[in-house]
Assembly symmetry: C2
Amino acid sequence: MKRLTYLLLCLLMPAMAAAENAPVKYTDAASLTIVNKAQPGGPAFQRIDVARYPELTPTVTRYYRYSTGLAVVFRTDSRNIRARWTTVNQLPGANSTLIAQRGLDLYIRRDGKWVFAGVGVPSKSGTQHEAPVVEHMDTTMKECLLYLPLHDEIAALEIGTDEGALLEAAPDPFRHRIVVIGSSITHGTSASRPGMAYAARLGRTLGFGFINLGASGQCKLDTFFARIAAETRADAFLFDTFSNPSAQQIDERLEGFVRRIRESHPTTPLIFLQTEVRESGNFDLKKRAFEDAKREAARKGMEKILETDKNIWFINPGMKLGDDHEATVDGVHPTDLGFERMLKKVQPQIIRILQKHGIK
Amino acid sequence: MKRLTYLLLCLLMPAMAAAENAPVKYTDAASLTIVNKAQPGGPAFQRIDVARYPELTPTVTRYYRYSTGLAVVFRTDSRNIRARWTTVNQLPGANSTLIAQRGLDLYIRRDGKWVFAGVGVPSKSGTQHEAPVVEHMDTTMKECLLYLPLHDEIAALEIGTDEGALLEAAPDPFRHRIVVIGSSITHGTSASRPGMAYAARLGRTLGFGFINLGASGQCKLDTFFARIAAETRADAFLFDTFSNPSAQQIDERLEGFVRRIRESHPTTPLIFLQTEVRESGNFDLKKRAFEDAKREAARKGMEKILETDKNIWFINPGMKLGDDHEATVDGVHPTDLGFERMLKKVQPQIIRILQKHGIK
């Protein structure tokens, strides 16, 4: 049977080769559906319209211009899908692939599931990229979900399809809005490709909209994050807010942070994740002490908050990375393996909590 | 108790800070023990002395100059370990972190196990790097295993320890020599850091010397790979030789490849891994057909070889990546998650085969 398939495909090859060289028609992705934006309006490929929040620090301003967590959804019967895009950063990060930082990551719905189809590999230098994403497909109509870069700003993005093929905007495939505010772990710093950030994985698995507001290294329970949460429509919030602040910052800021959000979202479920035990503390006693104190401050702070608000949840441990010390790239940032281990523990708990609040 | 530890550490902090700023003494790593080299001699940080093999293609010549799989082993009681090193490549790869490509990855033996301690993060541009690897440790004597870059050539490497601390070469901690010849998957292309390439993971777990001769995209059963195998001392060979060649190349070359190795290693166990089912064929019918034909050619070719040589083994499937299509960075290269899934299936089989040959 396999041999037969192969022979059939050999016969089809000339047609495929022709398709490969067919003229490409480019469509501005801004004219398609962009999902997972935190708020309506603002530049097409930015997760937050930073002009609304002048109080953000320069780093958070820069990060919130990134397309982290956003995806373009469309339908096409094209055999080949290409992309042309422009980013703004010059240097690569050290603990992440270029594909995750400034590349594209395509999934196609098959039998109700989002199945990996291909990546758009960015150029190794410069900010102009053009690449195939997937080629030599059959011509059935397909529902596509294209994740945008995790760690760069998109200045322009065009989707290329075969001349004569159909390309149209598709409705947002995700129901509900779960807004995730957090650190580099949420930002997806060491996910291998954009769709492997844990919020994106949760979104595909549950069919829910997960809005990624991770800001690498920046999420220290600052007032502006609370204001953004307060002004963002959400069915639930997920917080990775104990990875970046010190124990002292948690002591000082946690209650005010929650109070500010509660002014606008009095009963919306708020789910807090305890931070990971960092592998960077395996031998570094200073880091270990800092992290131990931080987790202890989070535990104590949450204990107090849970006493008075039955719609707040604390998942502790919230980021279990296994016991072999092999789940991070650098002692801090979970790899796809780390995210897999973390989700294995946390996903069922998140599902259970959301279900209690009618989110299913 | 935790609170007490924290208070104690707070008292220790000033001493630690002093240690942090203590003068650093640099030692040429070439004067320490370098493990996992394929053959004796040649440049210190190169896995193969390419001058011995003028028939290599330019790409394989370049790759075999890389420090892939090599590690420096030493003992030290220094609180802090730093590194200064020089690499040669200018541009980053797209599907790998800079830490994996040109960074360092340190493990320290604790209770008989190699535990992740820290990475040396390379600079984001240029070829000169200087970074802490781990800091603020206690001053007990420690056995260290520092993996070198997976995808770059090391022109110079110095280990920095606190002035006055001891630093000495340590004996090779690994017994036996398992030589692994293969593709980018063996090369560790999308491992997050050097020690996460599957050969390195097998080495740490089993306590065996795994010599990494992966050559990204190049391993097409060429005669020169057989010659290198023939001239390399090994207790066993592991082959990932079906990831790069076409079905036709496997048909034409496999028997000659094995025959050439058997001239020098008549009874050494040769373990062949079947290649992965690539996620790049999820929708790309041309790639799917190419890959199906390749795996079928490998299966048939190995079937024939196994009939006449009882010391040859074929692990099929040899690279199981799970059924969620989420274990590669780009449809081809397993991430740490892919390697984890692959090892879960393959490691027990490798152990069993090696044990049959008295390698334990």
